[in-house]
Subunit: 367 residues, 4 copies
């Protein structure tokens, strides 16, 4: 008797949604993609052509209604960021497992609402799994580094450096995109922040953030309070520090690299980027190519994500990360973005509450 | 209406057979694994547990009989090398598509028999596809190099260097294995030879081979006329030369690297091996790990092979390589192995016939 | 007739002083090392044994008196940082060329005093050369990167990342050293700051600095208001930003790397550190060693520095860098160190004056 | 009292001679370059301008006559290869120390004559040093590899791979040069052969050589019995094997790399060539440059050679290599070149005598 497969629907069939749908349809043996929704008719047409046997819906709610009746078990939220939290909460309330693309929301409160809904729902559906799709956690190299770190190989992880740098896109895409992205720290560095929380420990509490940035190639980003290159510092309670770099201006391709320095050693991931194992020797020297976009770099991680999510749902095992971490990451990303624009350092107390200058002055006055 | 899938059976469920079966079962969306055969009961038990819905057979012929009646379309031959050619020919005669693990046989005649059967069968089944599974042809890096070469980027490819080097295995495995492997040049270098034929052009004709070797760690290999390290030279008509290195003694892991030097540039594949993108900084320096075995290095290539084979069968497109090349590779591998043991250079005329010393003396005498 | 050689004295024969003396004595063909001073008798004994024909002095002033009478032309200041500026000024007043080890001083005012003395002295000795020994400016790789940048290859240099990270030294040396070093940003990052000024343009004006740090392995550093790992952000007027990392905790060795991202490309220096061209393949993977200390990494740069300084003195050509830059670097380093300890962002107006919070509040109040 | 310096003369002031003269003049503290000879007046003019105080001679014998009277102690032979052995022998007979550029001669007999002269001279001048300048033995990376090998780190060195590949030079230089070079195996691979002898042990005895080659870019080389790309196999008694690659056709620059595989590990030297530590990120990927010519790669080795030769002469310590090795290297190089042209494998008995086919037939007949 064949093992039952996880019945999955995908919400959103844009660039990433179509990829998720394909991964669940073709490359996740234990899952069965049963449905997909998109408000865009041409995206549904694509699905009908490329996803044999998958039912399509123009309306997300409609999909939930009809598919839940047919035994839907899980939803992948890959729609526009603006509706992530709302769609996730709807699915959570029906007891469905949820894999939500990052970020849960570009705002802290809406992100927290997803966590709150999940915590509440767990009392009714104790086996329910809800995770935020930080794809790098599923990347073989990051996982290898994490496992090595867990063995104590580098001692206490203390200094973290990470960057998410997109290839220069002269089309102006990034300007239009900035309206909805939450800003470069929320859009790009959210991954690096999540990695810092993973490597330093998911319970790490942020102490302060600072940031600076420029518009070197896209001055119009300033209209949306954004920058094309930014640097951030993040301080955590407990003697851990991080530096972040995000950019929309890399010439060679997607450059996402990370270093974790511990008291006894260091782990570096992708500090010598290469799209494959080929070196080209020519009169100008030796050259290697690198992946132009994040999907080229992380495709295998997305596939692992689909398979691991499926496994933890089917087997009722612990999800690979805590959902709370995703809110924590948004909190830090949003604060960095604010620091970037205001030029001010933002501080937090040990409970995660912001300490603003007025508060500090009050505290000082009382002493 | 869903597209029909290619109905595939796998013959042999040993180490590689089980992998092929898994790839076709789980990771080849357009294929359906319907059956598998193995003379080993425990391997069938494994299949029953891990390959949902796949029918199992102790006998290959039995499988063909029963499955052909049910619409079998293709067979993957991953059994012991000794039966490759026989099983392949049986499937060919039934008009099945065949993906045969390398080598077709350890002997030239048995290899040629497969080609002959295929050529004959094509008159009856003009869409039939038969390929030999030289996995490196499906590796993303080798493919990228091949495509770059085709653009003329390195001019005329002229000097080829390639090595297939296994991790040192102190268990004695390689001694036992040498009885059936055909020798280190047939077992390991066959891949490098196939790559040379690919990069130099599939119609390349061998002119001479020379070889030397040692038993540095496994003197018992001499009982089977084999060596644990060997070096070979291969000369082709038309001004192209190749050097090969095969070894059973690499400390760090599987080291399979290739360089193609042309008149205008060079392409190097895997000359800086690494299992992933992690670098470890520790008191002894900076370290990276490499894949211990060929499957760690080439897993993705095997999966691509399954998918590409499936696509060319379903779509009736040209197979990714000519079957004749597989015989050519065996011919060169067998000659290198003979040169290794005899210490003699072996020469070929432009028609591929060996020129032995006696012949050369005769020719000379007649002049 | 042989060309005259530059007659040079070295002040200070500690670790770096002895190296400078050796470079000028043995490896600077156009220079003649005539004298050396040190308050340490054992260092003079070393000089007498190793520097044939060099006259030695316990007292710096004594050396200047006697050697100037004999035609001394240049002095290399390699004594304790605390006396750099004083010794440099004395030599400057006598019209001697001066190569002063970095930093001119750990304080801005004393550093500026050297510049002031030099500017004044130039009216009397218009050919006098005074430079601060930022050795990286003489390193072949940094020079190559600088020249490439000058060609416009990477467009406008916009984002700078650099680190100076010392090998972990469990002896407690760094704690004792912190009393005099000026702090980790002044001692280590001064090099990175100088590089930022070089790559961004020597007239770059700092806009703000922020910093965070920890004591991960040497808590006693806090007694000297220092840290063992620190991260800094530096913002320059004109849309240029920099991130800095300094550490006393690297396991593998000295790790000094730099990246300059421009609007069209990026230059990376030493992001794949290696002490030489050897790779070691062993059962744990592939390993390379890196230089344990800065002298291992930069020895050739120090030798180039000696030769280039000599050449500009003898040939009366422009010195390789402006002395003002050295004060600018100290200003930024000192501000970073203050930001590190106070936790406050420090801002500067376009004239280089600090804008403190009170000032900002005043300015705001007046508006 | 200053230590006495070694009084050195250089014979030959062509490209390499001028470099040797400069190294001894400027960068070898314990040596004093006193004289230089060249049959070319313009080369002497160069010396008079650039080598302060060095006496110049149009005639080598004249230099020896006059300089020996003035206390000459050592000669560096950097003249045309054709006169190496003759000039070396003249200097040897006068009891001078000799550093002779490689090869001693392009012929085995003339090379052996130098060794014979030296062996005889030693009875009169027991402290005399005569070495052949295999510069790679003085390269920091090769030395590091050699020392690591000596520790047993890679077990028994068993398989050697090395290449000396020159940058493509479309000027036709290599064709003209082939008249005098002794052929590509004698000119280029002599270094690799010397390294094989060093790493395998200087007493290694060659058992056989085979070679193949092509003219891919310079067909006119065939006029001089030479090739532009060649591959060789060298078998040694005692279970050691080597493969060699020499080329005049590398696009990116000088590519000299070496790997020594032992029973427990491998050492690789320069398998990732780079001229410095800079990586260039641009829209076509990540690029590094490599040294265009051997002097760019080995300048520091030549300087170390000058210093080490000087030290062993002054201190009467063992020379860094045996002179006999240089004859052994020529013997193997000449045999490879012959094998390249004849297409025949050449075998040697354990005493180093060639076993030709006729001999083998005779031996066989007698059995």
């Amino acid at each position: 008797m064949p093992s039952p497969k996880l019945r999955v629907a995908v919400a959103g069939l844009g660039r990433m949604g179509a990829r998720h749908a394909t991964h669940f349809h073709n490359l996740t043996p234990r899952a069965e993609l049963v449905a997909a929704s998109s408000p865009e008719a041409h995206e549904l047409a694509w699905a009908e052509k490329n996803l044999d046997g998958v039912r399509t819906y123009l309306d997300y709610d409609d999909m939930l209604d009809q598919e839940c009746a047919k035994g839907l078990q899980a939803v992948v939220i890959a729609s526009a960021t603006a509706v992530h939290s709302e769609q996730a909460i709807k699915a959570i309330k029906r007891g469905l497992h949820v894999l939500c693309e990052k970020p849960l929301s570009t705002g802290v409160e809406k992100s927290q609402a997803v966590v709150d809904a999940y915590r509440k729902s767990l009392t009714t559906f104790p086996s329910q799994k809800v995770i935020c799709g930080f794809s790098r956690r599923f990347d073989a190299s990051y996982r290898d580094a994490y496992e090595k770190l867990q063995t104590g190989m580098i001692g206490v992880p203390s200094v973290f450096r990470s960057q998410t740098c997109d290839k220069l896109d002269p089309s102006g895409f990034f300007v239009a995109y900035a309206q909805f992205s939450g800003g470069i720290f929320v859009d790009c560095s959210i991954h690096d922040i999540d990695l810092a929380l993973w490597f330093f420990g998911e319970d790490s509490r942020v102490k302060s953030v600072s940031a600076i940035g420029i518009t070197a190639v896209e001055p119009d980003l300033r209209k949306h309070n954004d920058r094309d290159n930014a640097l951030g510092l993040v301080e955590f309670y407990g003697g851990k520090i991080a530096q972040l770099f995000c950019s929309r201006m890399m010439a060679a391709g997607q450059e996402d690299s990370t270093e974790i320095t511990g008291t006894k050693g260091k782990l570096a991931i992708n500090t010598q980027p290469a799209s494959n194992l080929v070196n080209i020797y020519e009169s100008s020297g030796i050259r290697r190519e690198i992946a132009p976009h994040y999907y080229g770099r992380f495709r295998d991680a997305f596939i692992a994500e689909a398979n691991d999510f499926t496994a933890c749902c089917l087997d009722d095992t612990a999800p690979p990360m805590k959902l709370e971490g995703a809110v924590n990451a948004v909190r830090i990303g949003v604060a960095l973005q604010e620091a970037l624009i205001s030029g001010k350092k933002i501080e937090f107390d040990e409970q995660g509450n912001r300490i603003d200058q007025a508060t500090k002055d009050q505290v000082r006055a009382r002493l």
